[in-house]
Symmetry: C2
Subunit: 197 residues, 2 copies
Amino acid sequence: MNSRELLVETMADLLWERGYADTSPRDVRERSGVGQGSMYHHFPTKRDLAVAALERNIAQLRPAESGLAGPDDPMARIEAYLLHPRDALKGCRVGRMTQDRQVREDPALLAPVTRAFQDAHETWTTVLREAVDAGRLPAEVDPVRLAHTLMAVLQGGYVLAIAHQDPRPFEEACAGALDLLHAAAPHPTTSTHDRKK
Amino acid sequence: MNSRELLVETMADLLWERGYADTSPRDVRERSGVGQGSMYHHFPTKRDLAVAALERNIAQLRPAESGLAGPDDPMARIEAYLLHPRDALKGCRVGRMTQDRQVREDPALLAPVTRAFQDAHETWTTVLREAVDAGRLPAEVDPVRLAHTLMAVLQGGYVLAIAHQDPRPFEEACAGALDLLHAAAPHPTTSTHDRKK
DNA sequence: GTCTATATGCAGATAGAC
DNA sequence: GTCTATCTGCATATAGAC
């Protein structure tokens, strides 16, 4: 792998582990093994490298999201996504950025984060709308709103896991959300089809 | 106010706004107006000051939590807590700490955070159990699990709000969680009593 | 593209006077 | 308790040779 890619990959990992403010150019050099000259040749500032690394971290999440958008039964996709095994103690590569003041205050760093959340929200809204249309969720739920709720469960789940230093609160939070979705589901237990009268 | 209190209050605000790693002793001195000598007289290290400030931030959240534990109808308390107006863009004073590597790696800083989350979880579990016992939530829901879910909605709601630079996703996430609780509630709408045949 | 040398300023204190 | 002076080391580059 060339120096440029190596730098981006290393910075991406460090952003995930430590955030932007707490990662120094030196950290990147030492972990990547790339020299000072090379580093500043490819990326004139730490910020430039971070922008590239952030894009990489965002791209990293796309496979999982495309599963959520996939062709299967919508409730099955929701369930699979919420129960998908994750290393909860590591937190979210993208959500983490929101807690870094230097990221929040720099449009070049914040904008990709905002877009990533908007995209994820759209994906969630679509699958939830499909679940409602399929009669798997009550027509009263607002897919746009519920999309925020479920994304919050995931993002907040990471916070709980780190606070407790235990991945289980994350898993419980997701499982609890699923429990609610199931409990709220229209009950075809009564009959094969039971629509509004 | 004396220097000591002033330092703690200032550091508490800075921890909330910027986290631990991104707050320097100089930041504290400049905002508080307390001199170098005084500062290091009261707190030999930045870390010592941060521990005191963190305890203060945790204490700050207790009034709200005691409302959740209060004497009213349990569902009303849950609703009030979730819909309580918050400055979502500022994030959670305590949850924010989980995203700071230097906090995660220092037991003196992490332990108070862990305890605060454990306490909040207990409070949530109790009120949810009361709601189940009162027949306001289905007996199938696990209060312990759902407590994690609702805490995650709040913590994650802050993340969404910051990512979008808009408090509405936070509010929507909370409202959506409430929608689900209501949709999942045992329905005395059908009839006075309609249990499993 | 990569290397080594050099530079400015802030972080995070420590020392000792008042 | 508070003040001013001083110190080491790292953050974040810049310069110029190879």
